[in-house]
């Protein structure tokens, strides 16, 4: 269950709208069901009271929306940021992608989101999902009311939550948490242990499901190019479909390279993938390698930090030490 409730957020946002601190709020809007929450801009207390929600399905990371939203109008926009969102927020500021002066950031604690896919796999027809403490009550169409432990319904990114600590905000509601060590590289290590053939087969199996909808790229706070090369007919690599299975893999691997050192591991890519491809594992592999080659580095931890991949020091690891040439890896 989330520590702060909806009413408290509406109250605070309303105060800030009334006293002129900001003129709009970037928040989550209620849908048809408990779980289909949409990012939205609220302009008044009435709009907030009518449709604003905060709960277990407010996973959307608003940081990227700030790029466009801050370009509209002169007033400030209030944004609610979960701990993981604050890392993307900082990273975008590092990259000068939006005007900090136009944002009023409120950090809010997060108890982890719920994974609707996991919930739907338990029952046919989900009518409502309510949290009470560590238990989730799921009302279904055909299987009655199901009770399940919250920890069993968390999405992967929340199971392996990297931090309950907010690294950026104007004000914080509730208690701040700590940076966590929740084994987020465990799965990467499993994949590293595979033989090259097994690893190739694993990724081929995962990436072959890609339908090139680009949701991973479009939601990614690190993917903020005005025009992606894959959308640009003049780039020579623009493709709406892969000409072969090799291209599918290349799209995702190239994207992972492009965001390496900038990816904060927010996990939005895997959340939105309609084909459930564990794309975050590619990014985590890069993060893990950067950590082991250059020392611990967390993108977005501070504003203005230079990722080891775009910095040079004479102590940098030599390519020959980083990659073993020949043998099975050739």
């Amino acid at each position: 269950m989330q520590e702060i409730n909806r009413a408290a957020l509406i109250k605070r946002a309303s105060e800030l709208l009334s006293d002129g601190t900001a003129d709009r709020v970037l928040g989550w809007k209620a849908g048809e069901f408990d779980y289909d929450v949409t990012p939205a801009v609220f302009h008044s207390v009435e709009e907030l009271e009518k449709d604003f929600v905060w709960g277990d399905f407010c996973g959307a990371n608003f940081s990227k929306y700030l790029i466009k939203e801050t370009q509209k109008g002169d007033g400030k926009v209030i944004v609610f940021l979960k701990p993981c969102d604050t890392y993307s927020f900082n990273q975008l500021l590092t990259e000068h992608r939006f005007d900090r002066e136009k944002v009023y950031a409120i950090g809010i604690p997060c108890d982890g989101m719920l994974d609707i896919t996991k919930i739907k796999s338990m029952a046919d027809g989900v009518l409502s999902v309510k949290s009470e403490g560590d238990e989730v009550e799921i009302e279904t169409l055909y299987d009655g009311v199901i009770k399940e432990k919250r920890e069993n319904l968390l999405p992967d990114r929340c199971v392996h939550c990297k931090s309950k600590k907010h690294v950026s905000y104007d004000e914080l509601m509730g208690e701040d948490g700590e940076v966590l060590d929740s084994g987020r590289f465990d799965e990467v290590e499993q994949i590293e242990k595979m033989t090259p053939d097994e690893r190739f087969a694993f990724w081929q199996g995962e990436l072959s499901r890609c339908i090139r909808c680009n949701a991973c790229r479009d939601v990614c706070p690190a993917c903020t190019c005005e025009k992606c090369v894959f959308d640009n007919p003049d780039s020579g690599v623009e493709n709406k479909a892969a000409a072969n299975s090799f291209e599918d893999s290349m799209f995702h691997i190239i994207r992972a390279f492009h965001v390496a050192g900038r990816c904060t591991d927010c996990g939005e890519c895997s959340r939105v993938c309609p084909q459930h491809i564990p794309l975050h594992l590619l990014n985590r592999k890069f993060i893990k390698d950067i950590n082991s080659f250059y020392g611990e580095y967390q993108a977005g931890e501070t504003i203005g930090s230079r990722a080891p991949t775009v910095n040079y020091s004479q102590d940098d690891i030599e390519p020959s030490e980083a990659v073993e040439r020949g043998g099975d890896n050739a």
């Binding site: 849908g31 048809e32 069901f33 779980y35 289909d36 929450v37 949409t38 990012p39 939205a40 801009v41 959307a60 929306y65 739907k120 046919d124 027809g125 989900v126 009518l127 169409l141 055909y142 499901r209 339908i211 090139r212 909808c213 680009n214 949701a215 790229r217 479009d218 939601v219 025009k227 959308d231 640009n232 007919p233 623009e238 493709n239 709406k240 479909a241 892969a242 000409a243 959340r271 939105v272 309609p274 084909q275 459930h276 491809i277």
Partner: protein, 341 residues
């Protein structure tokens, strides 16, 4: 009507697969998916597949023709081949209806020979729904999930699969399976339809109405101020269009093979920034226009060109898959006026 005991399903599938390639929904770690049947394949009990059944007739990519370049000569190579007969088992009522919507696009003059080839060789064994989900709203578009269309209409009634052939193609296939099946009166099917209909009537979206939309409503909705709010969170990805059973837009591209050119087509999405890009640029300048295009096409333009038929079948895939949870239901409720209050 014929029936076969559920525990003999494998022998039924095996008998079909002897002559024709059989596809059916199976469970994968990424949800249900149509796959080629093989001995031991288990029919998924998921309500629907993640990707729609349109892929069988309108695949994501296909080669249209090749060009072989030799000096100043270009040889055009027709890569079309007569498709083999195939059977798709387990298509739900919504997806079956989507074929009619696609047919009106691809089989109208000039006929799309690539689509027609596959369509003519495919036999559809539809499967009635028994447990429709909260995201289902096929009834809004006049589709009865308890009683789908198809070449052979199937109902899973407790211990048996009942099959009713509705077309010549269906009759030919079902009569070939006579030795495995037995005649049934259809009472169990009628009973099941009754129960399913009651369930359909109680669904949260059962009262969703499309009445205010339809043919000739372009001016009523095109300039609506609500599009701004509806489209503001749209990421511009193609998820909704690619999982949609009725989205049918495509792009044609040339792929340089080094020795010539492969001309292929692939799904396109009106949500993309380079959709229908012309020499003067993309005619839909912002995401608002692109977003509007998709829903106007489903709810107004298509019906205008097709005697009032909507090009949404209420399968609910976009409700499940949109990364920001915006979808046609929210659009219809926002724009649909009193009928949807």
């Amino acid at each position: 009507m014929r029936k076969i005991s559920i525990d003999k399903l494998n022998s039924l599938f095996s008998a079909i697969a002897e002559n024709e390639t059989l596809y059916l929904p199976v469970d994968t770690k990424a949800g249900a998916k149509f796959e080629k049947w093989h001995d031991g394949a288990v029919l998924s009990d998921a309500l629907n597949t993640v990707r729609s059944a349109k892929d069988f007739f309108f695949p994501q990519t296909e080669n249209l023709m090749d060009f072989k370049v030799d000096g100043k000569n270009i040889e055009i190579i027709d890569t079309r081949e007569e498709c083999e007969d195939f059977v798709i088992f387990g298509v739900r009522a919504c997806d079956v209806k989507s074929f009619e919507i696609l047919d009106r696009v691809f089989l109208a003059e000039p006929v799309d020979s690539y689509y027609k080839n596959r369509r003519e060789h495919g036999v559809i064994m539809s499967l009635a729904c028994t447990k429709p989900h909260e995201t289902c709203f096929c009834g809004t578009f006049g589709i009865d999930a308890s009683s789908p269309e198809g070449d052979i209409v199937c109902h899973m009634t407790g211990d048996a699969l009942c099959m009713d052939a509705k077309t010549e193609k269906g009759k030919a296939l079902l009569s070939r399976l006579d030795s495995l099946t037995e005649e049934t009166d259809g009472k169990a099917v009628e009973e099941q339809k009754k129960v399913t209909k009651e369930r359909l009537a109680k669904l949260p979206l059962a009262s969703l109405s499309a009445d205010s939309f339809g043919a000739g409503k372009t001016e009523k909705f095109f300039g609506a101020p609500e599009w701004k709010e509806l489209s503001q969170a749209c990421l511009g990805c193609g998820t909704c269009t690619f999982v949609c059973p009725t989205c049918q837009c495509y792009d044609i591209k040339d792929f340089n093979t080094g020795h010539g050119v492969k001309r292929f087509r692939c799904w396109d999405s009106c949500m993309y920034s380079d959709f229908t890009k012309m020499s003067a640029g993309q005619p839909r300048l912002t995401q608002l226009e692109r977003f509007r295009q998709r829903f106007m096409h489903k709810l107004v333009y298509y019906p205008t060109n097709n005697g009032g038929l909507f090009s949404c079948v209420g399968c609910g895939r976009c409700l499940s898959k949109c990364p920001i949870q915006m979808n046609i239901v929210k659009v219809m409720k926002k724009l649909g006026g009193k009928e949807n209050d």
